[in-house]
Symmetry: C2
Subunit: 421 residues, 2 copies
């Protein structure tokens, strides 16, 4: 049994093992990685009763800690949700292998043939919060892309994550892959997170999945590169040339389909000229749907609209609340989004191609949409299969991060004794 | 005149200006960026006498500081070298525009059309050492890719870099682009470097170009993401199946063509079975060419070979010195490179396809070569045009970093009122 109190030594050892596993994984056959994921899915399903029992322990712990209903719901696993985990593992197993593909190949006049091929990134650290299914999703995606991974889940899901992790390791064993390819930090001690963030020798990238607290800690303490994953402060701008029917459909879906996901709309911007034709009806429909609307002075004239304060701009509610404001023109909408947005997903509702082009050109969010619900901001909906999150940074991965984004590349250069003149 | 003593305020102001310029550059036409670079080239040539005079001041400063001959040579500008700068600017101007290209486009069954388009990265900080021409190269590449840049050159090239920077700004003015698109830190104070490394709000990525001291400082203090640019600890492995003629050509070129570049060979690994057929002749040829060979015990039997110590493995000489060792087999060569290499460029000399495949598969350097001189590790030789350096990290940019690697991307999603079920 490892000493779980000496966190630096524990984490350093995990790092060394991960690095060694990554070196082996880098040339493990595609088929072995696929089999490991299939076997892990079998194991999760076979052990579902155990997982539900372990989850009951986690739920007790969560109740003691006084978690909110929403948090308790995220933590809970039942047979249907375990079926979801199994389906997810099989879906990742069935995806095309991103590793080894030739991305480009060309010949140079100097006699060289140059090939750029996709490789695993190496070792990935994933830090996440309450949902135990992330253990399976993140472990599977990292392995699919040939990476070793160190998982550090939230303390709430400690027992259920532990069992799911056991199943992943069983899959590795069945497939003859190194068991250290998917490791899980075996302690709730938060010092392990701090340690993981600074292991520049053994970890290539950190993927944080969680709320403001985690993101802040990561931004402050990480020495290892991070796939930035900020909040989804998602704006929907209703242009002067918005189609009223589409606008109503899209805004209601963007806000109300699921309020707790990062692609849910958080702020509505309405062009002054669309206020009477589309805007007022939209706001009333949101109110009727049970959404709390926090509007600027103009919108407060509509019955039921609360007064927005400065704090409502740039805020991620993840709840049945939306901020709303009237803007003078598209440039005012763009300026608002630049100032308050988080570069995640922003949407324009318009039939005017020039307006859409301006919006697409002058904003630099990871995802820009036209006449489509922002709830589509999701790797599955983009056709990428499962995702480990939506990256809001501009380096390497951006938007939905699937297996392909968890890879790097190298150049293979062949000559026939070529020398440089 | 700005207050050059309040470094944090000075740098924060530069960051704000860079961010504003980047927002404008993001949709500046390709043609304007091209014209700016052409006009900058004209300005450099027109002001060449001034630049040479400013460079004389820098050379005086360098002599006072007691720079080595090699450093003084790197610092020196004459008309021929200024012609090189001008040619470089025009070559970057003539390159295809990397910005705006559609990287992929597809339709989803949910009714969305998704386009992935290339965008500028934003604001780039370039920190470099003595060579004044980097001011032009780095400024030009960043602008080509639609980025704003903050340049921080070495204190030795202060005056010549300042004048070259003036010419770049003149180019921006001629083309009607924001002058803050290419800024230069106007002080030698090293505190400015520390500041630049932590400006996470206004700088998207740091590109360090320099020796160990700079790289160490960057690794220790950077909060902004960095395109890692480690040393080139370049290995050449002579396999049992190496062709003697190609091996001789390639090794001599890899070591001696230019010893001071990052693609120069620093360590020779010789398969035991190739020792008599190829290895001994190779070592003698290196000695004859004036190279100091620091060999292991076996190689010390050859007259003129010095004894290598443990410090010689994994060392970047950038000089007419090479470490050399006999290895039992290809796996021992791979193990040596994994342990001592820097992930820059490594080469195998072999006629055996299986050996080459093993070397390519089991090593993860940015550039792996077969039967070709490592001195080809260069953006120009790869057909990428100018380069800002060779990245040894695995995130985002890897290998030669040209204009294309200085970009990011975003997703543009179009629906017709599509909502998620």
């Amino acid at each position: 049994m490892k000493d779980l109190t000496d966190i630096p030594a524990l984490m350093a050892e995990m790092g060394r093992r991960a690095r060694a596993a990554a070196a082996e994984l880098a040339f493990a056959p595609s088929e072995a990685r696929r089999r490991a994921l299939e076997a892990a899915a079998d194991a999760v399903w076979a052990r579902r009763a155990e997982i539900v029992a372990a989850n009951a322990q986690d739920l007790d712990y969560g109740r003691e800690k006084g978690l909110s209903d929403a948090m308790m719901d995220r933590l809970m696993l039942d047979e249907a949700r375990i079926q979801g985990i199994v389906d997810g593992l099989r879906a990742v197993a069935a995806q095309d292998d991103p590793v080894g593909a030739t991305l480009a190949e060309w010949e140079q006049p100097n006699g060289l043939t140059i090939r750029r091929v996709r490789t695993p990134l190496g070792v990935i650290g994933v830090i996440y919060e309450s949902r135990p299914n992330v253990t399976a999703d993140a472990g599977a995606l990292c392995l699919k892309a040939g990476n070793a991974v160190i998982l550090r889940g939230g303390s709430e899901s400690f027992h259920s994550s532990g069992l799911i992790h056991d199943c992943l390791v069983e899959g590795l064993r069945v497939a003859g892959l190194p068991e250290d390819a998917i490791q899980r930090v075996p302690t709730r001690d938060r010092a392990a997170v701090r340690e993981l963030l600074t292991m520049t020798d053994s970890v290539d990238v950190i993927v944080p999945r969680g709320g403001k607290g985690l993101v802040g800690l990561v931004q402050q303490e990480a020495r290892v590169p991070v796939f930035a994953h900020l909040e989804g402060i998602v704006h929907v701008y209703v242009d002067a040339a918005a189609d009223p029917v589409k606008a109503l459909r899209v805004v209601l879906n963007a806000k109300t389909r699921r309020t707790g996901i990062c692609g849910a709309a958080e702020c509505l911007l309405i062009h002054r000229d669309a206020l009477d034709t589309v805007g007022q009806g939209l706001v009333r429909a949101l109110l009727e749907a049970g959404v709390e609307v926090r509007g600027d002075e103009t919108l407060q004239a509509i019955e039921g609209v609360q007064a927005a304060t400065e704090e409502d701009w740039g805020r991620e509610y993840l709840d049945s609340i939306i901020a709303a404001r009237v803007v003078e023109d598209i440039d005012a909408a763009i300026a608002h989004i630049r100032r308050y947005g988080s570069g995640h997903t922003d949407c324009i509702l318009t039939e005017d191609d020039a307006a859409a082009a301006r919006f697409f050109e002058r904003l630099d969010s990871a995802i820009l949409m036209r006449n489509a619900s922002t709830q589509f901001a999701d790797g599955g909906e983009f056709g990428m299969g499962a995702e480990i999150g939506i990256a809001t940074g501009k380096l390497h991965a951006r938007g939905p991060v699937g297996a392909e984004q968890l890879t790097s590349f190298k150049y293979l250069v062949t000559g026939d004794g070529a020398v440089r003149g």
